[in-house]
Amino acid sequence: MKITDTIGRLDKFNVKISIWFERVAIIAVLGMILGTLIDVIGAKVFNAPLRAGTELIYLLQVIAIGGALAISKIDGRHVRIELIDRLPQPALGIIHSLVALLGIVLFALLTWGSFEYMQSLRINNDVTSNVRFPLFPFALWQGLCCIPVILILISEFVGSLREIKRK
């Protein structure tokens, strides 16, 4: 019962945090469209393209795509083959838990790696070529966005283990 409550609370938290990340992502993707539009109109009509337009747009893309990682996972958007979904328990639960575990390891490495990458960008003072935006906050964002994905995968892992037990 306790595990059920904890997982239920974790799921609610995951949805909540993923929605918050998605809100930031929505602002970023709309910013990409608006920024590109201003850049085109500026360049074609007024002969004055948006300064740092290109940089702004690809950096906003990091925020947009990173921010949508968790909600896309919850929404089941990531392409997968559903060949094994008709297998009986406990085989299905074992496979699901293995898949979730592999995902946890992958995203844990990606999170850790992103923070290390952020650190190296900060130390080397890596910036964009035109207006010299620092790049490290965007690597930090990438790492932060992976954390809710890990939490979702942990919840899936525990859920799959419980599927095995339930048979």
Binding site: M32, I33, T36, D39, V40, I57, V79
Partner: protein
């Protein structure tokens, strides 16, 4: 251990991960990471993973993906598809299977403003299927036609498959887009001919609809204006070299929103839903590309693509035999992999072979995209079929899959035409100079 053997083991492990249901993007990244760690060093692999993901997310050339995906989602929310179907229905509804022919025509036209096959299927299916039910269309015929028609969007620009192929192989997206137009139209005509044959063999499959006056026909033509303007501005600007693909996508997104507002179709809720949908689709594609990038770094280290290309070059069989084998291979993997996955996974490995054999990369891009069309209507991952199932809930999924099978015949005719006359795909591309 021999790098080629390690590469082969990596591919086998990848297929195992796919078959146990691990998301494809995660599978490719995981195998790429472990393989690279084995071939180079764990430290190098650990550094490669976040950098590859960051480099893709922060790539300006990839910004074209969210832009065109958003354009498709906004076009979906703006009522453009419904108007297109109404026009096609008034013009063609009287023919045997007229509603099905209208569905094909409307899907082809909607494909010109929307790069997503699922969105095309949903948009046209929502208006076409209830009408087909009203006129007692056979379920197999009606649902199979809607699912297949939605797939046409993959060939007609703006198609995300062309964007991804272009980015992976460094080909001009403008050239790929313009090259898809004629094959897409030919395929649409072949599908319409199939509908006519089907309805003549089985007269109960799609009875003709009511006739309309010439006045009504002329009046209905206003329904194509929205799509025509949007296509002319975005694709016209792109083909003429006025806009980059990213700019064309952004202008198309804003254009679709304005059309939605003008038509009083777009509500705040629809706008938010379309934005969320577009964002999640873009995220899925970008993560797939990031995973494929990690995997391709590993595969490149194994030297497999170069050795394969070299080996194929020395084979005693003519180049077209190799090409036919490649196309058969694509068709087979298309039946169990997602359309985008077939491109990101296989193109980096096979592309050097195509170059070695002397084939036009633009023509190959059209062929790859065409072959990946099978992926959207075939089990187990036929996304269009699941979209149709969501609309026609009372129709069993096997009936929908069955309804797509007769369209394999015109599909193969289309492939043969493109293999025998590659100019169908490449002629228009010569007019694009960038």
């Amino acid at each position: 251990m021999n790098p080629i053997l390690i590469g082969s083991i990596g591919i086998v492990v990848l297929l195992v991960l796919f078959s146990i249901g691990m998301p494809m993007a995660f599978s490719m990244a995981a195998v790429g990471l472990v393989g690279f760690a084995y071939l180079v060093s764990p430290d190098a692999a650990f550094n490669l993973l976040p950098r590859d993901v960051f480099d893709q997310f922060a790539s300006y050339s990839l910004t074209v993906i969210p832009m065109f995906v958003m354009m498709g989602c906004y076009a979906f929310a703006s009522g453009i598809g419904r108007k297109l179907f109404n026009t096609a229905y008034v013009l063609l509804g009287r023919l045997p299977g007229g509603l099905a022919v209208s569905t094909m025509a409307a899907s082809t036209a909607f494909g010109a403003v929307c790069g997503s096959t699922a969105a095309t299927t949903a948009t046209i299916g929502k208006v076409a299927l209830p009408e087909m039910k009203k006129f007692h269309y056979n379920d197999t015929f009606a649902t199979g036609t809607v699912a297949t028609a939605g797939g046409l969007g993959i060939m007609i620009p703006p198609s995300t498959s062309f964007i991804v192929y272009g980015l992976l192989t460094e080909q001009s997206i403008g050239k790929l887009y313009i090259s898809g137009i004629l094959p897409g139209l030919i395929l649409a005509v072949l599908f319409m001919a199939t509908i006519q044959v089907w309805c003549r063999i089985d007269r109960t499959a799609g009875p003709p609809g009511p006739s309309t006056t010439w006045k009504a026909k002329m009046k209905s033509l206003t329904g194509v204006a929205d799509a025509l303007i949007l296509f002319a501005v975005t694709m016209g600007g792109l083909f003429a070299g006025w806009f980059t693909p990213t700019q064309a996508g952004a202008i198309g997104s804003v254009g679709a929103l304005l059309i939605g507002l003008f038509n009083r179709e777009l509500t705040w809720q629809k706008f938010m839903d379309a934005t969320k949908d577009g964002l999640r689709i873009s995220c899925m594609i970008m993560l797939l590309i990031a995973g494929a990038t990690v995997f391709s770094h590993f595969i490149t280290r194994t030297t497999m693509p170069a050795i394969l290309a070299e080996g194929v070059g020395t084979l005693a069989v003519p180049g077209f035999v190799v090409m036919i084998l490649i196309l058969v291979f694509y068709f087979i993997i298309g039946t169990f992999l997602d359309a985008m996955a077939t491109i990101v996974l296989v193109v980096p490995i096979l592309f050097p072979i195509i170059v070695e054999l002397g084939y036009d990369p633009i023509w190959f891009g059209v062929m790859v995209t065409l072959m990946s069309m099978t992926a959207v209507v075939s089990p187990p991952d036929g996304v269009n079929v699941y979209v149709v199932k969501g609309i026609a809930r009372d129709v069993p999924i096997t009936t929908i899959f069955k309804g797509t099978i007769p369209y394999l015949a015109p599909f193969f005719v289309g492939i043969v035409l493109l293999v025998v006359f590659p100019e169908i795909a490449t002629t228009l591309s010569h007019y694009i100079k960038y």
